[in-house]
Symmetry: C2
Subunit: 211 residues, 2 copies
DNA sequence: TACGCATCTTTACAACGTATATATACACTG
DNA sequence: CAGTGTATATATACGTTGTAAAGATGCGTA
């Protein structure tokens, strides 16, 4: 039970939670720094004691999202022993997660114009590895899901370079599918499950002959 | 040679061109309605005579982008007779186009928070088919590239339902790859071409056994 | 010539991110 | 226990944005 005091005590987390709630309930448009602060019950400048700017707050949300995704994938890993099944489960979990949390997923892997007014240059969120100003927290969290996927592929393929390329291909496939689904570019037929659709969508021979 | 007059004469196109130039030169952050108007040499409210709001201007840019992409894909179609080669060419062209025009591509298929202040609800661009407020122009243009891809697949596969699913899978793959590359989540090894990487990235058996 | 209407400008406003300066209260030090 | 430094939160202010509302301009047509 928290009492109202001048010093919040755990404002940083409270802000992240408020932001996540706002994102879920009202979408990205409503996710203004001021709205987040108001929801947390503090002045609109309070967040600046905990985050350098809006971008950094969004990055914390994205990091949280990657942790959640990794959690779900780890559950798959516990249940699936066969590597092939695991890869398909990962993909299904990935797409499902994105569809269940579209706003969050956009924040994680899409780009979001954070609408910064003053800052010159790149004011967009995205986990872009080379991008400057990326928090270490996010950088690390963002790599987890792909790491898991790579591990699964390494159980199916021996050539290490192929492992990476194939895992990147799989990531591209599920990310692209998630993104296109979220943006409404197509829909999965009603009579199909996500898993079934995913399995059918994998491109087949002869395009995938080893080159 | 145009003279300065009160009525511009072709402001609509001038605005779209100015916006495209701004997007290319300064990125999405700089793409404010006011900046576009200034670049076109008109007052910041002039665009409202030709576009309902900022979103509609952005949609026109996106539509132009889809036309350009379709143009390039048609060039592939002229040169490739083999259906398999054509599919791979389409994919390569697609990813190349995205990497050469990252800002434009984001506008086309990513979501862009247009930072509308007043408007309630969904103020994001994206070609989402079900989304309300989508211009017919964009709706139509956005479907062209996928239509071409589907056509190519229909030359390789007989089952019409499989054609769609496979084409969607291919689109997902190249879109995901383009998006992840643009956002910097990974890079193609230097010793590989886009085409080579794409071919290698296609998931192989036994995941792609017909189910 | 006069009028109607599309086009463009002027003015105004609320919301946003954030810079600066200030107030508050907790953790130490003595 | 008193005093003080520092982390935290607030108050105020500014520039930029999208866009609403009302007025100015000039072209096509009656």
């Amino acid at each position: 039970m928290k009492e109202k005091k001048y010093h919040h005590g755990d404002l940083r987390n409270a802000l992240v939670e408020a932001a996540i709630a706002l994102l879920r309930e009202q979408g990205a448009e409503a996710l203004s720094l001021r709205a987040v602060a108001a929801r947390a019950g503090v002045s609109h400048m309070a967040p600046y004691s905990h985050f350098k700017n809006k971008k950094q707050l969004l990055q914390s949300i994205a990091a949280w999202g990657f942790k959640e995704l990794a959690k779900r994938m780890l559950q798959d890993a516990e249940q699936q022993s066969d590597a092939d099944e695991l890869v398909l489960s990962y993909g299904t979990t990935y797409v499902t997660f994105a569809l269940e949390n579209p706003q969050l997923y956009r924040l994680m892997l899409g780009q979001v114009d954070t609408a910064g007014r003053r800052n010159s240059g790149n004011d967009r969120i995205s986990v872009a590895i080379n991008q400057p100003g990326l928090s270490e927290e996010l950088d690390e969290c963002a790599k987890r899901p792909f790491g898991l996927l790579s591990d699964a592929f390494s159980q199916r393929i021996t050539n290490p370079e192929q492992v990476t390329t194939q895992a990147l291909g799989a990531w591209s496939l599920v990310h692209g599918m998630a993104a296109l689904l979220i943006e409404g570019h197509f829909t999965i037929p009603e009579h199909m499950s996500i898993k079934g659709f995913l399995a059918q969508a994998v491109i087949r021979a002869p395009l995938n002959q080893p080159t």
